[in-house]
């Protein structure tokens, strides 16, 4: 999986996997319950079948969620940050510290619940696509400060 050897890849927190599973499971549970209730009220077998299908689909997605989680990685090198991700489309971004314009740390409600945050790097190029989700809060802050520091030291402008 790793395209560049000799790198020490760091991973997002295992809690990211829990978050991703939650994101799949919550709607699935809702759908199953709703369909089962509908089946109980109307007494049609089709609704029970649909409920079972929803449960199966959610269970079937689980390995993909796990693989996607495992594909995330980042490595801080001397002059640039590497970010890799994706199963179907695998990507590896190289963002030189000197090119970073600003760094975002965001955390949605679910992420906050689990104590996670997403770090996103911005360069002058709109196509730059470097974000690292599911970092533990302290790690996200450490990374942000470290990147800001390195970025300032190596700033290269346009």
């Amino acid at each position: 999986m790793s395209h560049v050897e000799t790198e020490e890849w760091r991973r997002p927190s295992p809690r990211l996997l829990r978050l991703r599973r939650l994101e799949v499971a919550a709607p699935a549970v809702l759908a199953v319950v709703a369909l089962a209730v509908a089946g109980g009220v109307t007494g049609t077998a089709a609704a029970y079948g649909a409920a079972a299908a929803a449960a199966l689909a959610a269970a079937g997605l689980s390995p993909f969620v796990a693989r996607r989680y495992r594909s995330w990685g980042y490595a801080e090198r001397e002059d640039d940050l590497l970010v890799r991700r994706g199963v179907m489309f695998s990507r590896l971004s190289v963002v030189p510290y000197g090119r970073m314009q600003f760094i975002d740390v965001t955390a949605g409600p679910l992420e906050r619940m689990l104590g996670l945050a997403t770090v996103r790097l911005h360069t002058a190029a709109a196509a730059t696509d470097a974000r690292i989700p599911g970092l533990e809060r302290e790690e996200a802050e450490r990374l942000r400060d470290r990147l800001a520091e390195l970025g300032e030291a190596q700033a290269a402008g346009l």
């Binding site: 560049v4 489309f89 030189p96 190029a125 290269a156 346009l158």
Partner: protein, 417 residues
Amino acid sequence: MRGGRLTIGLAILFLPAVFGGGRASDSYPQLVVIAVLVFAGFVSWLVTRWRIEGDDLHIETGLLRRRSVRFPLSQVQAIDVVRPGLARMFRVAELRLRTAGSSGAAARLAYLPEHEVEPLRDRLLALARTARSGEPEQGEERPAAEERVLARVPTGRLVFAIATSGTGAVAELILVGFVIGYVVSPAAAAGILSGGAVWILGAGTAVWRRFNQLYRQTVSEGPDGLHLHGGLVALTTEVIRPGRVQAVRIVEPFVWRPLGWCRVEIDLAGRQRRKGEGRAERGQLRTLLPVGDLELAYELVDRLVPERPHELQPAPRRAAWKSPLRYGKLGWGRTESCVATRSGRLGRVTSWVPLEKAQSLRWVQGPVQRRLRLASVHVDTAGRSVHATLRDRDAGEATRTLAELATLARAARLSRR
């Protein structure tokens, strides 16, 4: 302190509204509005002052609420001279200072007498150079206006070029559709006209804008970069410093390939969006040469990216399974300071990106590419639409290239500092 003569033309700008709103009975409120605007424009011109102080350009404006803007000249990317149609009648012109960044925060010194504009621009540019390099300009005066014309576009060719371009084709289709509709049933055509007026206007304006901008455009080489002059109604003069160029590309549309023609487009830093530019043109680049021979095009590219690679390696044969239309054109090459890539389905597009302009690099592999052991490498720049993409390379080669380009880009960045 120098008294500025700003914004006289703000008043001029509103004149066409008089002719626009010419319905006799209900034009009073409009006339009042125009009168107020003209008066406001005049007042704003009266109270606006600008001066050069050290390395900064100060602009002070506003009657009730004073606003003072400071532009560091070291940040100035380029200074353009713009002469809108009506301003030309009054023999005034506008200076536009472009700074890096796409927010459009450009200083406008609007409406100075025509003969003052060029010397002022040269002075500001000299100051900007001094501010950037941090040391005073050498005493020797640069020989003024020593320009060598590199390319000039004949009007006939430009018309042909626009007629065969994408926007042109759309406009023609609409026109032909309308004419046919009119011949078949005039009544229906009236309906179409009222319904599709927006489209017709849109296509018409797009074509007109291109023609207006590129009419009689000449590219010449000056001491500070390439100079672009041109325009039909509004004359513009734009200076393109080589350092401003984020990417260059030569586009050979399918229709032109038998003729051996192409166009050259450049992606610039700090290209400010013009007032009139709508959404359609937001993604557009600066067209250096709207239509010309390949030989001339490569000569222009040489001026902008001096150390360009001359040989491109083709993609591996199995890439034909993934991109059958593109396969014949795919290729890439590099030197120490520049990456070139070629692609295109029907037409052919060759792009060059100076490595010092690379913002980030990406290695991407899709499912089909994985099957075929292929991968693409993207070189992202701060420009708008030209991105060098090394499409469908051998996966191992792509990985090696990624590491290699990262090192080279770093060296290029450092050597520039």
